[in-house]
Symmetry: C2
Amino acid sequence: MHGRKMPATLRFMLASRRSELLGLEDLARTCELVTRISQLVHALQKERGYSNIYLSGNAPHQRQQLDVLSLEAEALEREVRLDLDRIDLDAVSSADKTRLFTRIAYALHSLDELPALRRRIREHAISMQDATATLVRLIGGLLSVVFEAADTAADPDITRCLVALFNFMQGKELAGQERALGVVGFASGYFRADMLERLEHLLEGQERCFATFSRFASPAAQALWQALCASETNINACRLRDIARRTSPGAAVEPQLCELWFELHTHRIDAMKQVETRLEQDLLQQCRYSIERIRKDLQSHRKLLDGIADMHAAAEQAKLFSVQASDLDAPPPDGMTAMVARSTLELLLTQSVRLQGLNEELREARQALDERKQVERAKQQLMRQQGFSEGEAYSWLRQAAMNQGLRLEEVAQRLLALAQPAERAPARTLGHRSRH
Amino acid sequence: MHGRKMPATLRFMLASRRSELLGLEDLARTCELVTRISQLVHALQKERGYSNIYLSGNAPHQRQQLDVLSLEAEALEREVRLDLDRIDLDAVSSADKTRLFTRIAYALHSLDELPALRRRIREHAISMQDATATLVRLIGGLLSVVFEAADTAADPDITRCLVALFNFMQGKELAGQERALGVVGFASGYFRADMLERLEHLLEGQERCFATFSRFASPAAQALWQALCASETNINACRLRDIARRTSPGAAVEPQLCELWFELHTHRIDAMKQVETRLEQDLLQQCRYSIERIRKDLQSHRKLLDGIADMHAAAEQAKLFSVQASDLDAPPPDGMTAMVARSTLELLLTQSVRLQGLNEELREARQALDERKQVERAKQQLMRQQGFSEGEAYSWLRQAAMNQGLRLEEVAQRLLALAQPAERAPARTLGHRSRH
C-alpha cells in the first residue's frame, strides 16, 4: 500500500477477510484444546470403570491398577490445564468467548473435585453409584466445552468435523456409562429392572449419537466405525449384554463376569478411541486446510485491493487537474474510475455470495446440535409438566415418534412448538427487567 | 487480587464476564452507527422522492430544492463515514466482524456511486425508474448493515430493539418506495397495471414490517405509531392512494396531483421518522442500561471472586503445613476448601443458567429475522423452480397462506422444508472442496 490511505470500501473488505482469518486461527486453537479434552475424557472413562471394579472387590492388584489409571488421567489433566493457561485471557476483546469460558470454568471446577473423589474411592467411603455419578457429571462438563466449541465455530467445514467429533465423544461416553453400569450389575450378580431400563436408554442414546456422527464424519472415520461394529470384540460385548438382560434376582450370574464385562467393553471403547483419534486428525487437518485457504485468499485479495487502490489514486490524481465547483457538477466518471468501481463490485459480490453460502452451510451443520438441544428441552418440559422421570420422558418421546412415524427430533420440535403461546409476549418496558 | 495468581476456574469465570462486557461496548458502538445510518437513509429517501419530481418537470425552484436535499444527505453521509473511520480495523481480533464489514463495504461502495447519479439526474440523463432503482439498491445496502447488526447482537434486549428498528426502517423504506412510485404514476397521469401491482406489493410489505416492529417495540414507540396511523395526514395519504388505484389510461388525473402526493407522503414519512427517532433513543438507552448492568455485575463478580481467591489461598497455605505424599492421599477437604468450592459452584450455576436464558431469548428475537430470510428464500425458490416473477412468487405465497389459514412465514417455512432432500448429503471428503 506504499503508506497511502486505502479508500474506505477497500479497507472494510480487507478487514472483513482479516477478521475471518483471525477467527479461524483462534478456532484452530480451540480445536487443539478439544482434542486434548478428548484424551482426558478417555482416561477418566477408564478410571471410572475401574473405580467400580475396585469398589466392588478389594484385591491389592486392583488398587495398583487403579493408581496407574489415576496417574494417567492426572497427566492428561495437567496438559489440558497447561493449554488453558496458554490462553491470553486479557487479550480477549469480543463477546464470543462468554459461553465457552463459562463452560471451561465449570469443567475446571469439576476437575478440582477429582483429588477428593479419588481419596474417597480408595477409602471405600463412596458407593459405586455415587462415584459413577460424580464422574459422569465431570465428563459431562468436559463434553459441554466440546459442544460449545462446535456451536460457536464460524467455519462450516470445521463445524461439521466438530459436530462429528462431539457426537462420537458423546456416544462413547454413553458406552462408558454402559460399561460402568454393567460392572455394578454383574458385581451384584444381576441387573435390577431400573438398571435394565437405564441400559436400554444408554443403548438408544449411543445409536442416536453414532447416527449423527455418521452423517458428518469423513469416509475414513466412517470406515473405521463400520469395521468396529463388525468386529469380534463388539459382537462379544453384545453377547454379554444379552446375558445381562436375562439376569434377575432369581437368575443371578457369577460376579466374576464383572471383570470380563469390563475387559470386553474396555476393548470396545478403546477401539472407539481409534475412531475418535481419526476424527481429531480430520479436525486438525481441516483447521490447517481452512486457514491455508483463507490465508492464500487474503493474500490475493490484498493484491487485488492494492491494484484497485492504485487505480483509484490515479483517478483521484487526474481529478485534481480539472477544477470542480462541487461533486454535483463533476464530470462523468472516466474509464479508470468506472473500472475501479466494477472490480470492487465484483469482489464484493463474490464475497457476499460466499458468506451467504457459508451461513447456510453453518446453519445446516448446527442444526444437528440444535436438534440435540430440542430433545433435551422436550424431555425437561415433559418432566416438568407431566411429572415424568427422565426415563419416562424419553420413552414417551420415543413412543410418540414410533406411533407417528417421525424422528425423535421432530416429535421434540412439535412438542415444544405446541407449548409456545400463539402470540408472543408483548415487548417489555425498557430497563424494568432484571435477570440476575 | 494483590498480585497473586487466581485459580484457573475463577480466572475463566471473570474472563467470561469481561468478554460479555467488551462485546456489549462494541455492540453499543455499532448501534450508534446504526442510528446515524437511519438519519442518512431518511435524507436519501427524501432526495429520491424529490429527484423524481425534478425528473418529471424542470422548474428552477425544483432544482434549488433538490440541491438542498442533496446537500443534507451529503452532510449525513460524511457523518456516517466519520463514524466508520473511527473503527479501529486493525484492532479487530475475532471472526464476528466478517459479515458486518462486508455489508459496510458494500454500502460504502454504493455510496461512492452517488455523485455520478446526482449529476445524471440534474442533466436529465437518467429515467425516473432507473434513478429510483439505483437509490433503492443503495438504501437496501445501508439497511442490510442494520440487519446484520441485529442478527449478530449478543444481548437479547438490544437485539429486540434492533429488530424493532430494522423492521420499522424497512417498512418506512417501502413507504418511501411507494412515494417514489406514486410520483412516477401521478406525473404521467395514471398508474399502469404493473405499477398498481407493485403498489399493493409495497403496501403488504409495509404491513408485515410494521407488524413485526409492533411485536418488539417499546410501548412509547407503539403509542407514537398508533397516533400516526390515526392521523389526518395518514388518512389523506390513504385517500390519494385510492385515487391512484382508480386511474387508468382512459381515466387519467391531473399531473399536478404529483406534488400533492409527494407532500402528503412526505408528511407521512416524516411522522414515521419521529417513531424511528423514538426507536433509536430506545436502542441507545438499552445499550446504556445493559452496559451499566453488566459493569455493576462484573464489579460485584470480581469482588466475590477475590473473596473466593483469598479463601483459596488461605486453604492452600494450610495445606503446606501438612506434608503429603500425593494428592491421592491428601486429607479430606477442610471446611474452608469446601466453602470455596460451594461458593464457586453457586456462581457458576447462576451464570450458566443466565447464559442459557439469554440464549433462548436471543433465539426468539432473531427468529423474526430468520422468518424474513425464509420468506425471501421461498420467493427465490419459486422464481427459480416455477419461473415466477417476484410479484407472482409473493402472490403465490400470500394465496397459499390465506387458503391454509397460516402466516406467510409459516408457508415459506413449509415450502422450504419440502424442498430439502429427505437425507442430507453425505460428508464430503476433507479438503477436496473449493468455495471460491
